[in-house]
């Protein structure tokens, strides 16, 4: 079923983990630019989305976490049960859920950054 070799998938898994961790650090450090409660105020959150750089950071974070998280879920599910049909269902299900989450998250980021919210 798997088109990619497991070692390639795991390289992506480790790479996305390092990437997501690095971007999360940047994301958290951005909270330090103002008081914590201020940084979570509605206007400031919207302002973050409207900044192209920050919107790109959030989009990248969304992709990295989705890829890493759903591959992790796939691995856990593959260990819980075995069989060709089950494995195919798990792989397709995880890919679909990953794509769905990225699509929905991207929609939110794009709409907010374009001032549609």
């Amino acid at each position: 079923m798997m088109v990619l070799r497991e070692s390639i998938i795991m390289k992506i898994h480790y790479g996305t983990a390092i990437g997501a961790l690095s971007l999360t650090v940047v994301h958290i450090l951005m909270r330090l630019t103002q008081d914590f409660h201020e940084s979570l105020a509605y206007e400031n959150v919207i302002a973050n989305y409207e900044s192209v750089g920050y919107a790109l950071l959030l989009e990248l974070l969304l992709i990295l976490i989705s890829v890493h998280g759903f591959n992790g879920l796939r691995v856990i599910l593959l260990e819980m049960n075995q069989g060709p049909t089950y494995e195919k269902a798990v792989t397709i299900g995880c890919l679909a859920a990953m794509a769905g989450l990225i699509a929905y998250g991207s929609r939110t980021i794009i709409m907010t950054s374009m001032g549609m919210v």
Partner: protein, 259 residues
């Protein structure tokens, strides 16, 4: 009915019984999946000396108390890997475990986990042997040690290169590592620490040219990447092999950080 014993055997047995001052309770897990799914523990009290191993005690039970106990054993010196079982909850070789060192008056023996039970303490090794075969545990080369012109020749190995894999050559295929492995318990198609350690043994051997073939075998969805690095395989190995380390080194090849 008492069978006639060889005079020397008879002498040996009586000496053991007379000199013994201590005894332990041996709880043996009994089952026969070919007949029914019933499982039970049978208790036997056996005399022990400070040198008595669990295998000695089991053989004592078979000789004097219950000859129907199912057990696999052969060399009695931790060389053949036949008598692996769970002793007081931990996978160990019965012939390599002294009762005096267990520090317990009750010794519980069960068949190894992650193996199908044949009967009582004897388990089936098909899955482990099949996985072992899958990783091609032999030196792969295009040429041969038989040279048509000069006769036999040797593929020489330097002491430095031997150091890279020598500990992995000590594997006796007892299955204790596979029994202790948490992934083996969950994933019925996981290749297992025994086979992975052997894959490393041959890949690290610079006389071998089958690295890519072996890496392909273990680089699949139930291969090397499913190892959680619990390290229990290395904890239980009676020969000092460290399969967990072998697995991490193998991952280095697959990630491109080792040649």
């Amino acid at each position: 009915m008492m069978a006639t014993l060889h005079p020397k055997l008879s002498e040996e047995r009586s000496q053991t019984v007379v000199s013994s001052t201590k005894s332990v309770k041996l709880k043996i897990k009994r089952s026969n999946p070919n007949v029914n799914s019933e499982e039970r523990f049978d208790d036997y009290v056996v005399p022990i000396e400070k040198w008595t191993t669990v295998l000695d005690a089991l053989l004592d039970v078979k000789s004097h108390l219950d000859h129907s106990v199912g057990i696999r054993y052969s060399c009695r010196q931790a060389s053949c890997g036949s008598c692996g079982m769970k002793i007081n909850g931990k996978p160990a070789l019965a012939c390599f475990t002294k009762i005096s060192e267990l520090d317990s008056d009750t010794i519980t023996v069960e068949p190894m986990d992650n193996f199908p039970v044949v009967r009582d303490l004897a388990v089936g090794f098909e899955r482990m042997i099949n996985n072992h075969k899958k990783v091609m545990p032999y030196v792969i080369r295009d040429d041969s040690e038989i040279d048509p012109e000069s006769g036999m020749r040797e593929f020489l190995q330097s002491p430095e290169n031997v150091e890279k894999y020598i500990q992995f050559s000590s594997c006796i295929k007892c299955g204790l590592c596979n029994s202790a492995c948490p992934t083996m318990a969950m994933d019925t198609t996981f290749v297992g620490p025994q086979a992975l350690a052997q894959a490393y043994r041959y890949i690290a051997d610079d006389r071998d040219k089958g690295k890519n073939k072996r890496l392909k075998v273990i680089d699949e969805s139930h291969g090397i990447w499913r190892c959680h690095f619990a390290g229990s395989c290395s904890q239980v190995c009676p020969k000092g092999v460290d399969p967990a380390m072998g697995i991490q080194l193998l991952r280095g090849y697959l990630l491109g950080i080792r040649d």
